[in-house]
């Protein structure tokens, strides 16, 4: 190794370090580049497609669109959804299948969206909630239909 190359090595090495130092000094002095989000104070705005949790929308008359066809139950890869059906008696005196409970186990859900794709009557959708932590695992077993709710007219 010649002396010239030795000195050149030392200087090019030092220069490469200085380039890096310049970059970090830039960020040290430019505080408007900071990207930290202060989470609990400023909540993130989640897009409407965000898959947080399966919910069943009800209208103001406490009616939902679920016919109890179990398409979502069959589509779910994890057995997250369990449809418990009952038989209602319609005013004409006929027996009609309806849901008693639609049990949704959030702990098993992977938010894969397959149940919503499978639903023929758009009865369920994804909500944008994401703070799911609870103190007891049983609280993650949810019944999606409201108590006393019934199926909307015209949904078959």
């Amino acid at each position: 190794m010649s002396i010239g190359k030795y000195i050149k090595d030392v200087f090019s090495g030092l220069w490469s370090l200085v380039v890096g130092l310049k970059r970090t000094l830039y960020y040290f002095t430019h505080h408007k580049e900071i990207i930290t989000e202060q989470y609990p104070e400023t909540k993130p705005v989640l897009p409407e497609r965000f898959k947080g949790e399966v919910v069943m929308p009800h209208d103001e008359k406490n009616e939902h669109r679920c016919t109890g066809c179990t398409a979502c139950e069959l589509a779910c890869p994890n057995g997250t959804i369990k449809v418990i059906t009952k038989f209602d008696i319609t005013p004409e005196g006929k027996k009609k299948k309806a849901i008693d409970k639609l049990v949704y186990r959030l702990e098993l859900c992977t938010m894969c969206n397959l149940c919503i794709e499978a639903c023929p009557s758009d009865a369920i959708k994804m909500a944008q909630t994401f703070e799911h932590s609870v103190y007891d695992r049983s609280q993650l077993n949810k019944v999606l239909n409201n108590p006393g709710s019934k199926i909307m007219d015209g949904v078959e």
């Binding site: 090495g13 890096g20 310049k22 970090t24 497609r49 589509a75 890869p77 894969c112 397959l114 499978a118």
Partner: protein, 371 residues
């Protein structure tokens, strides 16, 4: 008694790197035999997060099994899903609409950039530089937000379905991708300033973990790791899927075969991914985003194999069908598993500190290895 248990009969030190270790980024367990600081043997012990995805897939239908594969290589979740969707489509002989193909490729390439950015940060952190990690996450976060807006999730999207994609792109998608490309071009030179040109980094990387091209082929090392050894192993080039054969991009090849070559391949590959996205983003064809498929998919009896290029290398999906609604047997040929098998060969004779550089440039994702 302390002295006896400390070393082997030959006087070598055996240390367990992992299953919990800062450099393994997961639960990889390497049993390393050391002579002083020099590595004599590296023996991987796997299975700490083996979830038996292959066995699980045997009981799921062809629509359902795709979501599990997001959990294999969680950094290229889109590409894993893509591979499965392609394999099912191959069996069903579905023609995917052009719009879906373009969207799929844009998503794949965005995933690749996000994955390489995380790799860049994590690898620099392994080498002791913490700052790049946060700088890389700044750009990665933009991609994650694009994903969140269109696919509804940030990491495990399950956006690809047999026949196309699950939903059409968000109206903001094109604008935000273009914004990302602008940001990326503005920031990419900082990566070189911070890490690539740094003399310490170059000394840590050059001539470390040499893998000849013959060995790379023999060990089945693919992806950026294989291309760093001069092996032309880009599946997108040699057996193109979707519309990759119509796109202009270069297969990045480096011939040095050391860690620095693997590093350069990844950095340049990000530029190629940006190039692919730029070609497609303004030319997404109109039409359906999903082909018409039956509600219950049944693959004909036979065997189907699909190779795709993930961020880590070649992913193979091998479906054996008996004609039912669920696959009879699924094998995922994961890139990480083969890449890891070369680690012992690469590491012998190097220093302990080099192991970190090697693991970093092989870009091991442990769930991908264990499946």
């Amino acid at each position: 008694m302390i002295e006896e248990s400390f070393t082997t009969a030959e006087g070598d030190l055996v240390i367990n790197v992992g299953p919990q270790h800062p450099a393994t980024h997961g639960v990889l367990h390497l049993v390393i035999t050391l002579n002083g600081e020099t590595i004599k043997k590296v023996e991987p012990h796997l299975g700490y997060i083996h979830r038996s995805i292959e066995k699980m897939s045997e009981s799921l239908t062809y629509r359902q099994f795709i979501y599990v594969t997001s959990r294999m290589d969680y950094l290229s979740a889109h590409i894993n899903n893509h591979a499965c969707a392609l394999c099912v489509e191959k069996g069903l002989q579905i023609e995917v609409p052009g719009r879906a193909q373009s969207i799929r490729i844009i998503m794949d390439e965005l995933t690749r950039i996000a994955s390489h950015e995380l790799w860049w940060g994590a690898m620099s952190m392994d080498l002791g530089a913490f700052t790049p990690f946060f700088h890389a996450f700044r750009e990665r976060e933009v991609i994650n937000e694009i994903m969140e807006e269109t696919c509804g999730a940030r990491l495990t999207m399950n956006y690809m379905v047999p026949g196309g994609v699950m939903a059409d792109i968000h109206p903001n998608f094109q604008r935000r991708v273009k914004d990302f490309i602008t940001l990326y071009k503005k920031k990419i030179h900082e990566y070189d300033e911070l890490i690539t040109g740094n003399i310490i980094f170059q000394n840590r990387m050059k001539n470390v973990g040499y893998l000849s091209s013959e060995d790379a082929i023999a060990y089945g090392v693919t992806g950026p790791a294989g291309r760093g050894s001069g092996v032309s192993c880009d599946v997108r080039k040699h057996s193109p899927y979707e519309i990759y054969d119509k796109l202009e991009f270069d297969e990045v090849l480096e011939t040095a075969g050391d860690s620095f070559a693997r590093y350069l391949v990844r950095i340049r590959e990000m530029n190629q991914s940006v190039r692919i996205i730029e070609q497609l983003i303004d030319n997404i064809p109109d039409g359906d985003f999903q082909a018409k498929t039956k509600a219950v998919l049944k693959l004909p009896k036979g065997e189907f194999y699909q190779r795709v290029e993930t961020a880590r290398g070649e992913l193979g999906v091998y479906i054996v069908s008996e004609g039912g609604t669920t696959p009879y047997r699924i094998k995922y040929r994961s890139p990480g598993f083969s890449n890891l098998s070369a680690l012992d060969h690469m590491a012998r004779g190097s220093k302990l500190g080099d192991l970190v550089a090697m693991m970093g440039t092989l870009d091991l994702v442990i769930p991908d290895i264990d499946r």
